[in-house]
């Protein structure tokens, strides 16, 4: 119905050889073909795969761990990668060393690139030791320097910690544990919403009153109580998991209410009634017939929930529920950036926000692409 789809249709239907292949293809193959045409979705898929690879191999890809501080290079701006030096001769990828000083009046750290100091970027270097996934010892890093100089492509934070490394290590947590919460809250929201809308009556009443109740209970004292009750010796990762789980147990109501409203309106439509008369089970009617009619909504709500969940923890860390070393997440990184001095003087510390935006956009476009591919009407 939109221009893009019309063009794409012509694209497929030219040439008889192709036509034949279309007729013989399995639904999965058809979906894959349709998906491949969706360039943005393809790109998004690739970005997501790359992102997950990077965070899976975090110890190897990141040049340093997330915490190594360096008081001699605090708030250092990002370093530009060069290939040719001042004289114009090719030196491979390298960065210039920084000379650190302080503005005598404002006391702000100043960094001046020292063009006589070429720090080559080496690949597959031996560097800081780590324990890969807490299991295997190693010290091989994708990139780094061989000398004493450090390389901070995205700059450093107030403690002189490398932002690239923090971003990668933080991503591992935010893109895994962080998203469990999204999944839980959607399963809950869709299940309870569908049941409430489909069956109506007393079921609806119970679910709806439960939701009202949940929404009326203040959460801040809940978190404050939790922060005090959780033993500090517990594994921070587990605590974080618990927090996301709780966030999702509270956060499902919007989705549930929306799904329910939608179900109320379509449960008497022809296609639902038809399915019911054919004796299709209620679970099947809901999952196969009713929910698919709102895929776009579910994708949109899901992609909106991802940043909310990643950031949800930001608001909690001031209550003492944030992650603590040796774990770091994007939410924690952004928590440290919520002030004017960062915005005005060290904007590179906002990088985790950019990372979230990229990941969420990728999820969104991938979702759109998958939906289009799966939708028999869109072809």
């Amino acid at each position: 119905m939109t221009e893009t789809t019309l063009n794409d249709m012509q694209d497929v239907e030219t040439g008889t050889g192709r036509e034949e292949r279309v007729y013989q293809a399995t639904p999965a193959q058809l979906m894959w073909w349709r998906f491949k045409r969706h360039k943005v979705a393809m790109l998004s898929g690739i970005i997501l795969i790359a992102a997950y690879l990077i965070v899976a191999l975090a110890e190897f890809v990141a040049p340093y761990d997330a915490f190594e501080a360096n008081s001699r290079s605090t708030l250092q701006p990002p370093q530009a990668i060069h290939f040719f030096d001042e004289q114009g001769s090719f030196r491979g990828p390298f960065v210039y060393g920084f000379k650190r000083g302080r503005d005598p009046v404002t006391m702000r750290p100043i960094y001046v690139a020292d063009t006589t100091k070429v720090i080559p970027i080496n690949f597959f270097v031996r560097g800081q030791a780590y324990k890969f996934w807490g299991l295997f010892e190693g010290n091989l890093h994708l990139y780094g320097t061989t000398g004493p100089d450090r390389i901070n492509l995205l700059g450093t934070d107030t403690l002189g910690r490398d932002m690239v490394s923090r971003l990668i290590h933080g991503g591992r947590i935010s893109l895994s544990v962080g998203l469990i919460g999204v999944a839980v809250s959607f399963v809950l929201g869709i299940t309870l919403g569908s049941i409430s809308g489909y069956f109506g009556g007393i079921t609806d009443n119970i679910v709806q009153r439960g939701m009202e109740f949940l929404r009326s209970i203040p959460t801040i004292p809940l978190w404050m109580g939790l922060a005090a009750a959780l033993p500090i010796t517990w594994d921070p990762l587990f605590v974080y998991f618990l927090v996301t789980l709780l966030l999702s147990l509270i956060g499902w109501t919007y989705v549930a209410r929306t799904v329910r409203g939608r179900f109320l309106s379509i449960k008497n439509e022809d296609f639902v009634l038809a399915a019911r008369f054919c004796g299709t089970s209620e679970a099947k009617i809901i999952t196969r017939h009713m929910l698919p009619s709102m895929t776009s909504y579910i994708i949109a709500a899901l992609t909106l929930a991802v940043p909310d969940m990643i950031l949800g923890e930001t608001a909690l860390s001031f209550l003492g529920l944030g992650l603590r070393p040796p774990v770091v997440s994007w939410g924690v990184l952004l928590q440290d950036a919520q002030n004017l001095r960062t915005i005005a003087q060290a904007p590179w510390l906002l990088a985790p926000g950019a990372a979230i935006v990229i990941i969420v956009l990728a999820f969104n476009f991938l979702g759109d692409g998958l939906r289009d591919a799966a939708d028999p009407y869109s072809k």
């Binding site: 915490f67 501080a69 008081s71 001699r72 605090t74 302080r102 503005d103 009046v105 404002t106 006391m107 702000r108 750290p109 107030t158 403690l159 002189g160 404050m224 922060a227 005090a228 500090i232 010796t233 860390s317 001031f318 209550l319 003492g320 944030g322 603590r324 070393p325 440290d336 919520q338 002030n339 004017l340 001095r341 005005a344 003087q345």
Partner: protein, 636 residues
């Protein structure tokens, strides 16, 4: 010996008396002049005392007028406004060379007897409340009998007015003169009075005086129950006691525009308004040396803010004329960079406070208690910290690594103590811990005698301490093989942990280190490293929450030293005991200092004159009040 105290008293009397011959014509603000001309206010020489107190100006004689714009954080932020204006009998004043002296405020003179059991004060002659009523010893008597000794209003009267376990006795001599008599010698009393008579009972209850003519009608003793009930209803409080005290809509100075005060300003629009307003007190009893009635500035406004960043935004936009409260050292570069745009200057005042860590020597964990009480362990904890890194990262290099010892300018300053254990020396830390038999395992962490990993919870308070600080301490300890678990809590939880000794190591401010003789409770362990021991000492073993220290515990020496200082007959004797006390602190270092003397950014509009450039930001000097706001003025 005693003559030194007398000399101080004499000097300060001199300060306020270098005064004005009566031939002198007094000046007043045009704002008040208009009221006088309209017949709504008596002329200025009838409003001032016969011999007004003279407040020295930091620069030149100022001009009248203007509104000083500030920010306040809500109804809990009483001190922000109070410290600007509060008045007391005598106070500590810092001069431009950094020295701190006792000066007289609303008393013309005071003196002490030979063994420091009796102090005589004389109020300014002809001094008046802000409603024009005279201030006399009737007001002193009212405060003493109906408030201080009234167990309904003061179930726990402030301890500094007690000696030998008994409250002082008041002796009214005449309309202007009264004597304060103590059970035991109390040579430090003038200093204690100068520091502790603030806040509680401070400006809300200024030292010794309360406006009897106004407040009487809010006490059951003087008022019929039904009249009092009507007032209680109108104010919406639970009972008549609800009218009183810090938050009482009658007695709290900054909540009640009708309350007569003796301060330079009185409240006009009280909190929780989004802008609170204070206006000059037409009866303020001080002038500059040229006879101009102070203050120069007519009004002070405080704009409500809820977050530090909102305050920073107000500052850089030039909406703030005078503020250091709530501004942070780590924002110094940001504030400094926007000076031009906001037409202000950031003055680098030195903080008298020290950032420190309290080590819980009363730990309920026997393994930790043993370690925390071992001086070698505390040294290891201290030297494993890279204080230079803390200074660089959190304080823009503007602080000084130092121990929790008396501040520079303090009579008990000890350069050696100041630097004790402040160097970064991981090898030393490791050697000490090895000596203690704490073995390092393969994972790099040490094992305690109980066979468990040695791990300490480092408590830090949001938002008082930058999280980076705790992180650097953690990293230092880790190098020495001690696992630090950083726990962020709010003030409420932190205080309760300190009170009940339920913590390992807590971040804290080691403040009141300039004049520790006036308020040494923190040094003695109160709400810091040994609250139980302190309560035991302070209540003579009577308090149920007190914990008696072991017989050979060095803290007993500390308590003995303070006991000696607080009942000394002379200042010299008291100082000797105080030095002993500091010596015990130095030998034991229960509070591990991190950095101190950091810069407190002080934002002052370029239109303001007479602001003293570099002074000390310290509790005992009343922080922002140390700039003497009454003598600030707007340049024309």
């Amino acid at each position: 010996m005693q003559n030194k105290l007398m000399k101080v008293a004499f000097l300060s009397t001199l300060l306020s008396m270098t005064s004005l011959s009566m031939a002198f014509a007094f000046n007043e603000s045009p704002m008040l002049k208009a009221l006088v001309d309209a017949g709504k206010l008596p002329p200025v020489d009838q409003r001032l005392p016969k011999k007004p107190a003279v407040i020295p100006v930091y620069g030149e004689i100022g001009t009248y007028g203007g509104t000083l714009r500030r920010a306040y954080s809500g109804i809990g932020d009483r001190m922000g406004s109070t410290k600007l204006v509060e008045e007391r009998a005598i106070k500590l004043q810092q001069s431009l060379d950094g020295k701190v002296d006792l000066v007289n405020r609303f008393v013309e003179s005071w003196s002490a007897n030979a063994d420091s059991t009796e102090f005589t004060f004389s109020l300014l002659d002809g001094m008046k409340w802000s409603d024009g009523q005279p201030v006399t010893t009737d007001d002193v008597k009212f405060w003493y009998e109906d408030i201080f000794l009234n167990s309904e209003l003061s179930p726990a009267p402030p301890g500094f007015l007690f000696s030998g376990g008994k409250p002082f006795k008041l002796d009214v001599v005449d309309k202007r003169t009264f004597k304060v008599k103590f059970e035991q010698p109390y040579a430090l009393f003038p200093y204690v009075l100068a520091v502790q008579s603030t806040g509680w009972p401070g400006l809300d209850k200024p030292s010794f005086i309360q406006p009897a003519h106004y407040l009487k009608k809010f006490l059951p003793k003087y008022t019929k129950p039904e009249e009092l009930d009507a007032i209680v209803k109108a104010k919406g409080v639970a009972n008549w006691r609800g009218l009183w005290d810090l938050k009482g809509p009658i007695q709290a100075w900054w909540l009640n525009p009708d309350l007569p005060v003796v301060t330079a300003y009185k409240v006009v629009t009280p909190p929780p308004a989004s802008t609170i307003v204070f206006e000059r007190n037409p009866y303020y009893w001080a002038t500059d040396k040229a006879g101009n009635q102070l203050p120069y500035i007519d009004r002070i406004e405080g704009k409500l803010f809820q977050d530090h960043q909102a305050l920073n935004l107000m500052v850089v936009q030039g909406q703030i004329d005078f503020q250091s409260r709530f501004l942070e050292a780590r924002d110094y570069p940001l504030l400094k960079e926007n000076e031009k745009a906001g037409n202000y200057t950031v003055h680098p005042w030195k903080s008298g406070e020290n950032l420190a860590m309290f080590v819980n020597i009363e730990s309920k964990d026997p393994v930790k208690a043993k370690l925390f009480n071992d001086v070698r362990f505390r040294e290891a904890l201290s030297v494993a910290i890279d204080r230079e890194a803390i200074n660089e990262t959190v304080f823009s290099g503007l602080a000084t690594p130092r121990s929790a010892s008396p501040a520079k300018g303090s009579p008990y300053y000890d350069a050696d103590f100041e630097k004790k254990w402040t160097g970064f020396d991981i090898n030393r830390a490791n050697a000490l811990l090895d000596q203690l038999g704490l073995k390092k395992g393969a994972d790099g962490f040490r094992t305690g005698p109980d066979g468990k990993r040695l791990s300490l919870v480092l408590e830090t308070v949001e938002p008082n301490f930058p999280p980076e600080m705790a992180e650097l301490v953690r990293q230092g300890w880790q190098q020495a093989g001690i696992e630090g678990l950083v726990r962020t809590v709010d003030e409420n939880a932190n205080l309760s942990h300190l009170k009940n000794s339920e913590f390992d190591v807590s971040m804290g401010y080691a403040d009141r280190l300039l004049m520790p003789q006036a308020d040494p409770t923190l040094l003695l362990g109160r709400e810091s490293y040994a609250n139980g021991y302190f309560e035991w000492f302070n209540s003579d073993g009577k308090s149920p929450s007190g914990v008696e220290p072991p017989a050979d515990h060095p803290i007993r020496k500390l308590f003995a030293a303070w006991k000696g200082a607080s009942s000394a007959k002379t200042i010299d004797e008291a100082n000797k005991k105080m030095n002993e006390l500091i010596g015990v602190m130095k030998d034991n270092v229960w509070m591990i200092g991190l950095v101190g003397e950091s810069v407190t950014p002080f934002v002052v509009s370029n239109k303001i004159g007479n602001f003293p450039d570099v002074m000390t930001n310290e509790e005992a000097l009343r922080n922002e009040g140390n700039a003497i706001p009454a003598q600030l003025y707007f340049k024309k």
